[in-house]
Subunit: 258 residues, 2 copies
């Protein structure tokens, strides 16, 4: 590892397990055979300070969590990070993400914030020349924000989604249900959460999606597979991990994946 | 989570996967049903700056990694951490650990450093009133340093170890072999590494150990079980995780384990 390799910052706590999943995928996507080969990483998890992103987008809470996320990014910058990833797709919905970028700009924080949505669409565009129908599974807030639909359409890709009620029951509930959701039961994930997400993938595949984006960072905790019943699974967390490794040290990026 | 809850610091990179395993076990050992219930944690992983602990203890390298570890602890303190854990048993061997504590004292860094070895012995003493024979599996450096043997003996517990050549082949190699060791192949761990560690546990059990300490933080990555063939497995990483949660917020410690 070169001495001037930038430190990768991770905004932790959104959610806590998802942030560790990103950190782990950064290790997995780095060429390394001993401890010293791995890249410098700082993870700051202050979950109690960051209000729920879905609650804000759905209009159930007033405080925009973008301000608290920007404060964590600033702390990472002060600790020496020059590249930062936020392992929460919902935080990339424009009502939150724009507050993060505006706050950082106002405070003259010049850290490079890697945009997970842009990276996922870029990765899909490079893997699938031409237009394939792509399905999206996310929180209801991310779905309603249209952030993935807009980015995919701008790249010329057709988007497949489920109607909102079905999507909420199969995906949002798999993340947020107090009884079986991943935020309350991450280790291990419940069978109920996994089955609902698999059902969502199956319905998108039946609607002719050739790839399905797991566009909420809790989802790959339940479905780690790279394909399900012939449908390619695009793990947004792994795409972000690879983008962060590439941004910090392109020669260290593990080959043969993406 | 109370607003004055201290931030838990994790010295990352020693090794990188082990640090994430500690961070994950801190989450698992915290009473939480939503993101905001989890404790504040900062993890700083600068693996290239910290020389291999075993190489130093075995006399194959001159630089004492204790200085670099102390520097990471200081950075965590500057970032606001008040409690720190080091998820590397080998770094707790006195030739390294004493340098860490002396360096921090000289720089007037008053952070609370939770000692993994002391916590493991305390946990065993509280679970097993009276003396049970306890086996120890670790790197060869930790074994030679005698840090676990001394702490267990001081607590009145009989210690079972393997002869050094057997221990090196079954445990040190499972961690360090470039071909199958956990440091080079952590995700997934190789069958060969797991089989060797299980063989080590089996031999200690045959030598009448009633509990076996996984006293190297790579070992639970290969053997997550809480018991193997009737022998209790003491995961030093999980004990450290519980000690850190208890130190930061005792009322948040998950009940019914230890």
């Amino acid at each position: 590892v070169a001495a001037d390799t930038p430190v990768i910052g991770i905004v932790g706590g959104v959610g806590p397990y998802a942030a560790l999943d990103l950190a782990r995928k950064i290790l997995e996507e780095t060429e390394a055979t001993r401890d010293q080969d791995h890249l410098p990483v700082a993870l700051l998890s202050l979950p109690a300070s960051i209000a729920d992103r879905s609650e804000f987008l759905l209009g159930h809470a007033d405080a925009n969590p973008g301000h608290a996320i920007a404060a964590v990014v600033e702390q990472l910058a002060r600790a020496g990070c020059r590249i930062v990833g936020i392992p929460c797709n919902t935080a990339h919905a424009p009502p939150i993400f724009n507050v993060i970028t505006r706050t950082l700009a106002a405070r003259r924080c010049s850290i490079r914030l890697v945009n997970m949505v842009e990276e996922v669409v870029r990765s899909l565009a490079s893997d699938h020349a031409g237009s394939v129908p792509v399905g999206v599974l996310s929180t209801t807030g991310t779905l309603r924000s249209g952030v993935y639909q807009a980015a995919l359409a701008a790249a010329g890709m057709a988007v497949v989604t489920l109607d909102e009620a079905t999507h909420a029951a199969l995906v949002h509930e798999a993340v947020y249900s107090p009884r079986f959701g991943i935020k309350a039961h991450a280790s291990p994930v419940t069978d109920e959460a996994r089955e609902r997400i698999l059902e969502g993938i199956g319905r998108l595949a039946a609607a002719r999606a050739e790839a399905v984006i797991l566009a909420c960072t809790e989802l790959p905790l339940a479905v780690p597979e790279r394909s399900v019943a012939g449908t390619t699974i695009v793990d947004a967390t792994r795409v972000l991990a690879r983008a962060l490794v590439h941004a910090a040290a392109p020669d260290k990026l593990r080959r043969g994946r993406d």
